[in-house]
Symmetry: C2
Subunit: 411 residues, 2 copies
Amino acid sequence: MALIVQKYGGTSVGDIARIRNVAQKVAAARARGDQVVVVVSAMSGETNRLIGLAQEISDQPDPREYDQIVATGEQVTIGLLALALQAIGVPARSFLGHQVPIRTDSAHSKARIAGIDGDAIRAGLDRGEVAVVAGFQGVDPRGDITTLGRGGSDTTGVALAAALGADECQIYTDVDGVYTTDPRVEPRARRLEQITFEEMLELASLGSKVLQIRAVEFAGKYRVPLRVLSTFDEGPGTLITLDQEAEGVESPLISGIAFNRDEAQVTLLGVPDRPGIAARVLGPVGAANIEVDMIVQNVGADATTDFTFTVHKNDYARALEIVGQICRDLGARDVKGDDNIAKVSIVGVGMRSHAGIASQTFEALAAENINIRMISTSEIKISVVIEEKYVELAVRSLHRAFKLDEQPPAG
Amino acid sequence: MALIVQKYGGTSVGDIARIRNVAQKVAAARARGDQVVVVVSAMSGETNRLIGLAQEISDQPDPREYDQIVATGEQVTIGLLALALQAIGVPARSFLGHQVPIRTDSAHSKARIAGIDGDAIRAGLDRGEVAVVAGFQGVDPRGDITTLGRGGSDTTGVALAAALGADECQIYTDVDGVYTTDPRVEPRARRLEQITFEEMLELASLGSKVLQIRAVEFAGKYRVPLRVLSTFDEGPGTLITLDQEAEGVESPLISGIAFNRDEAQVTLLGVPDRPGIAARVLGPVGAANIEVDMIVQNVGADATTDFTFTVHKNDYARALEIVGQICRDLGARDVKGDDNIAKVSIVGVGMRSHAGIASQTFEALAAENINIRMISTSEIKISVVIEEKYVELAVRSLHRAFKLDEQPPAG
């Protein structure tokens, strides 16, 4: 008998018919002999409706009252799912954050889980009940309702799995797993059977929006096996695990290719090459609450340097303005920018032990005459910035170069 | 400095503009130097929407899960009202049932309040905050959310006023007070300045649907001064108090005239006059969950008796059927019924010390040629059953006969 935590998002519980479908999936797991804890989000659209009401009153609503309001979305869903389970003969009991309790700090609307007492849920499981837990919410030391922020239901699922020592935490979404890249760009993209937490973090932060990053971090930290699978189709999904080599599975060189069209590039040309340039440039940008992603600095021909970074397209105009001022202050030559760029990243833990991945990447792009404008590497990732119009071509040529459409040999 | 509990119903908080209006009224009370506790219902339509969701899954939803779901309506409103108060510079804090806490028994969806701990609310008031409390909900000894049943927010308001020792509990509705009768029937109907709890109970149970009966009982029991007034108009409303004579105010003979068109009459004719007839007739009717209102038994000419009672029109067909069977069992002569009847009641504590009210009533009706079919009296009420078509005429003639349109002399 395994203990499984299943998490269903807003689309999976978007109406009564879908809630009934989730009840059937839970009942099937139980029929296989497993104990099941289900975490659910608010019905799709509901959280936005509640936020809309609060913001009709105030642009900056008091965070405690905001949480009091938006936490009701999940409260409705847990009651409805418990009823749907009971209606098909499965004993079930719903739990609000404070009824578990899921204890958090008091950082309303972005609270962090401080601890979970699993006794009440365990008692229910021992009585043969399914526990239906409200995602996204907790209770602070004062007894106030807190929420974990957008996508927080994934975190609730993982944290509950960790606290209960569950055998697996299953995150049900509208995709059937993690793919080698976006199938809309490369039709030969392949679902991964397994991926490591580290790879998943790199892919998630790079735009494969399957799982909330915090939930993946949490799962990695507490070694909770995590599986992404589809609410609407049958299938094994993708299992997210610890380092596969450590578990005797040979890692593929590359697990996936992510891309991101949301960035823009700002370059400060001909800056007098003195220590502290990076801080002089990025200080005012950070002070304006603009997040910087890639940063590259090149030594120029004379005693000057070129400094380039990328920001979200939404922040592009403001970043250009700020850097224009810095250009005058520093006596630099010029400021240039481009918001027709894209970032493409290849990710794989296999990189650690294999040389030559970078040159293979650059060769594959060169063969297609794609000019690389920036490069940034980490231990398990290589990112390049290219012209936006080449993004599909780049993803497809890299997908083929690294043979991602081929099933890796069984470990 | 007075402590006031204000309760606003679903229509009063039906949209954001109305919630802002309530915030203004609360701010005005606070500006007069009062401490204010506000109890609110769910936004109008919201409770029905939630019940609809639950019933889409199950005709007989599990009461614990049902309460978990429907309690969210008030939770949203308290958050929004707290935000609206803060937006106009009034410090405010919302309280769910379990955050007060309002302790109840475990009778889900019709729970009774067992006790209220006022400390958290008092601490907030002492900090200068307005306390915004969710009506209709509480928490049982297991920590489960309970609801008090329809209209339970009135009860929450009164119970909080009692627990906090408030100076007044103000129930805001869409009418500006309690009237001598329905102004749609008698345009000369007059708002009462005061009415006693007893009179209010008789008027409420007779169809003046201003206040929930349980709330009035509660207010009477704990001697909480209760005031009914309008959310949308200024005005003093109607104060519901203990016996006015006890407070040195001379009571008017009659306070109001209620009427009810929802009843039907069933008569069993020529029953052999033996002890136990009433029980033989009403036992099976009660067993069928049919509530009986008026009961009259007359001795007939021979050794038989006629037995008449009234039920709700919805139960009329079933009651006739049951009594038909009883008629055969008892060897009675016949069963007759009529659902074109109405009940008119005059209510007033002054009746206790004044003779002749009954005969004045009968004379007024006789003067209009209205035939009385049943009579039933209590210490502060006289009810008559008449043909339904005469109900407006009867109400107007009685209203004039007892000079209810005239302001009573100041006490």
